[in-house]
């Protein structure tokens, strides 16, 4: 408690400073939004493991750390530093350095007429109304203190708007670079994506680090508003360095017959929490929530889904695959809420896990809350090791153990990658996953893999 007070004090200091610095450019609606959020954050503080939503994730390691707001330093970065994060054939690549839009590092190759892709701060300066009518309307600062904290410090991030009926043939790539300093720094990127009726777009949020491995805190939030009959593919790739704390929330608001696919790839970071929170607010909406998490060493990767069915005839599908090695800890918490009027809801949830080490751990928790009577909800979770018989089959054909293991992991991970539509974003995510899997590849003798026996200890399903 004492620790927490000190922390809150330092956040208060940070907030006061931030408010002062940004006073001139901040319209009153935004100031009010931030202040309300900050008050909320101070009132609740950081979550503890007594909080049901945070039962498996201990945030103490970073709530105890003093993070200073990161200073933008895009001047020190050149385009060539970013070569390894280039999505071939993207319509645009917007670069953000410590949350701040860096137009000089960004490129717009083939953005069709009718699509705006820019920095949030810039958009607020030019067209405040376009932002004011959405920002903060959907993100729930009441239930998640990190969303409150993000809103309190909301300043910049991506703004994407797709005009009615406009179809983007090529994906938009949003690259978020956390640069490291001598001391721990934090950023709160805030993104707003609005796709109007019958629009169509694919957007990749890509979180990476540049510089040496000092701790950083990235606390991002995205509001994705999808109007009637629009189609959106959203991809999140978290692959910051292994000392990073990364929190992210994707809040999706889906109107009638909107179709959204969210794909998360948690590959990097020390402690990562990814919230995906779609609200199917209009009839006939469809939402696919697919995710892959790959952890090793002591990585902690927490996937929290809250799928709200608020209208009839909507379908949601959750498919998450986890690969955990060493002492990595994965969490899959899939909550589905079917509201009273959401008849004919069809909700499905599957979580499959591969544990490569006896010390790796997965907590998987389905949570169904159903207030309508005519619905179909199913859930299932599995855990396993790499199958000896599959490994032997490949090896008996001359493929060495390392490569055989890698092929099997690729296949398991490929299920998630292949839910992305074929194209530039698919190839890009696939490459990121392949790169991550290569780090896992090392031999393990078959004798150490004990099929079946150890499951109780390393796996709990709490229903």
């Amino acid at each position: 408690m004492a620790v927490e007070l000190i922390q809150l004090e330092s956040y208060l200091e940070g907030f006061t400073e931030f408010a002062k610095e940004t006073a001139a450019e901040t319209p009153s609606w935004l100031r009010e939004l931030r202040e309300t959020a900050f008050v909320r954050f101070c009132a609740v503080g950081f979550p503890t493991s007594r909080d049901e939503d945070w039962r498996f994730t201990n945030v103490a390691p970073f709530t105890r750390t003093q993070f200073a707001p990161a200073r933008s330093s895009s001047q020190e970065i050149s385009v060539s530093d970013l070569d390894m994060w280039r999505m071939e054939d993207a319509a645009a690549r917007l670069v953000f350095v410590n949350g701040n839009f860096a137009p000089k590092l960004s490129t717009w190759n083939a953005l069709p007429e009718g699509i705006t892709a820019t920095g949030l701060r810039k958009q607020i300066a030019l067209h405040p109304q376009s932002v004011a009518k959405h920002l903060g309307r959907y993100l729930n600062i009441e239930r998640d203190p990190f969303c409150a904290l993000n809103t309190a410090f909301a300043e910049d991030g991506a703004y994407v708007h797709v005009r009615r009926g406009v179809v983007a043939q090529r994906p938009i790539h949003l690259l978020f670079i956390a640069t490291t300093a001598e001391t721990p720094t934090m950023t709160h990127p805030r993104n707003l994506i609005v796709v109007e009726e019958e629009g169509q777009v694919s957007i990749t949020e890509d979180y990476v680090s540049l510089g040496k491995e000092t701790p950083t805190l990235s606390n991002a939030a995205t509001e994705l508003i999808v109007r009637g009959n629009a189609t959106v593919e959203h991809i999140l790739i978290e692959r910051e360095h292994f000392k990073t704390y990364n929190l992210s929330t994707l809040r999706i608001e889906q109107a009638r017959s909107a179709n959204v696919a969210s794909h998360s790839f948690l590959l990097g970071g020390a402690l990562v929490r990814n919230n995906v929170h779609p609200v199917l607010a209009g009839e006939g909406g469809e939402c696919l929530i697919s995710g892959l998490f790959i952890g090793s060493a002591r990585q902690h990767l927490d996937n929290y889904m809250l799928v709200e069915h608020a209208s009839p005839h909507c379908a949601s599908r959750q498919f998450y695959n986890g690969i955990l090695d060493d002492r990595a800890h994965g969490v899959f918490h899939g909550r589905i809420v079917v509201h009273k009027d959401a008849q004919k809801t069809d909700a499905k949830q599957t979580n499959r896990n591969l544990l490569l080490n006896d010390n790796a751990q997965i907590d998987t928790k389905p949570q169904l809350e159903i207030y309508a009577d005519d619905v179909r909800c199913t859930h299932g979770a599995t855990i396993g090791q790499i199958e000896e018989s599959a490994l032997f089959y490949l090896r008996s054909r001359g493929i060495d153990e390392l490569q055989a293991r890698n092929l099997l992991l690729q296949a398991f991970a490929g299920e998630c990658v292949d839910r992305i539509k074929p194209g530039a974003a698919h190839s890009y995510a696939e490459a990121a996953v392949t790169q991550r899997l290569a780090l896992l590849a090392r031999p393990m003798s078959v004798e150490t893999a004990n099929p079946g026996e150890d499951q109780e200890r390393s796996w709990r399903e709490i229903g």
Partner: protein, 258 residues
């Protein structure tokens, strides 16, 4: 030189001794058939030869092309030219058949110091072998054995053999569960692979396959021992009289400890 020399092989699975002293010599160009009742240890012998680690060799030695087979890992044995067609090929979703086969072939080429083949170089070879086994080109991109019928899986094993061109191929009941047309195609594929430099061990339950693949030698395996060896005519005798008489005979001559 002998291609395969097995001396006094004893092996156990899960603590039970299954192979109780096998001696077998195979020369290049020969086809040997191993027959025997259910559970006699035929697959165990095949798995030991393919170097499956869960099958533990407790005594004896095996020379493969002059080298100590028992010190090899499965992938090393394969690269040295050992191939086993599985009695029950497993399904591996997510790994494409063509990708898998090219990876396997390239692993072997690398082992032998040859250049790896890219997808374009590999394609004609793959197509040619598909034709040999009367397989559809759709097999190329399907996941490894996933959703294949029993017959398709067996054909896929022979396809792998045709592409990998081993020195010694062990076919573990490749004929089981095949209808007569599929059996002919498989036998044709196998016969096309016969060569003075290659030997085969054909494990089977039934004499039927041996109408199509004529063996030079037939061995009868009962309770972990080869109890009788002979020429192709031994298979016909077994077909006629069943295994009963040979099992009785074996029981009478087996050491009391068994």
């Amino acid at each position: 030189m002998d291609l395969l020399e097995i001396r006094n092989l004893h092996a156990e699975v899960g603590g039970n001794e299954i192979l109780k002293g096998i001696d077998l010599t195979v020369h290049p160009g020969e086809v040997h058939s191993i027959m025997g009742p259910n559970g006699s240890g035929k697959s165990t012998l095949a798995q030991v030869l393919a170097r499956r680690e869960s099958y533990q060799v407790t005594a004896g030695e095996i020379l493969f092309d002059g080298k100590d087979l028992l010190s090899m890992k499965p992938e090393e044995a394969a690269c040295e030219g050992m191939f086993m067609a599985f009695q029950y090929p497993i399904e591996i979703p997510g790994i494409g058949n063509a990708h898998f086969l090219r990876s396997a072939l390239n692993a072997m080429r690398k082992y032998r110091g040859l250049d790896e083949l890219d997808a374009i170089d590999f394609l004609p070879l793959f197509r040619e072998k598909l034709k040999l086994l009367d397989m559809d080109e759709r097999f190329m991109n399907r996941s490894l054995n996933e959703g294949f019928s029993g017959g398709e899986k067996k054909r896929n094993e022979i396809l792998q053999m045709a592409i990998l061109e081993p020195k010694l191929a062990i076919l573990d009941e490749t004929d089981s569960g095949l209808d007569i047309d599929a059996l002919r195609i498989v036998a044709q594929g196998v016969n096309a692979m016969r060569s003075p430099n290659r030997a085969m061990i054909v494990v089977t339950h039934y004499q039927r396959l041996l109408n199509y693949i004529i063996p030079d030698f037939v061995h009868v395996l009962v309770d972990g021992r080869i109890v009788r060896s002979g020429g192709a005519e031994l298979a016909l005798e077994l077909e006629e009289k069943g295994y009963g008489w040979i099992e009785t005979e074996a029981r009478q001559t087996a050491p009391a400890s068994a």
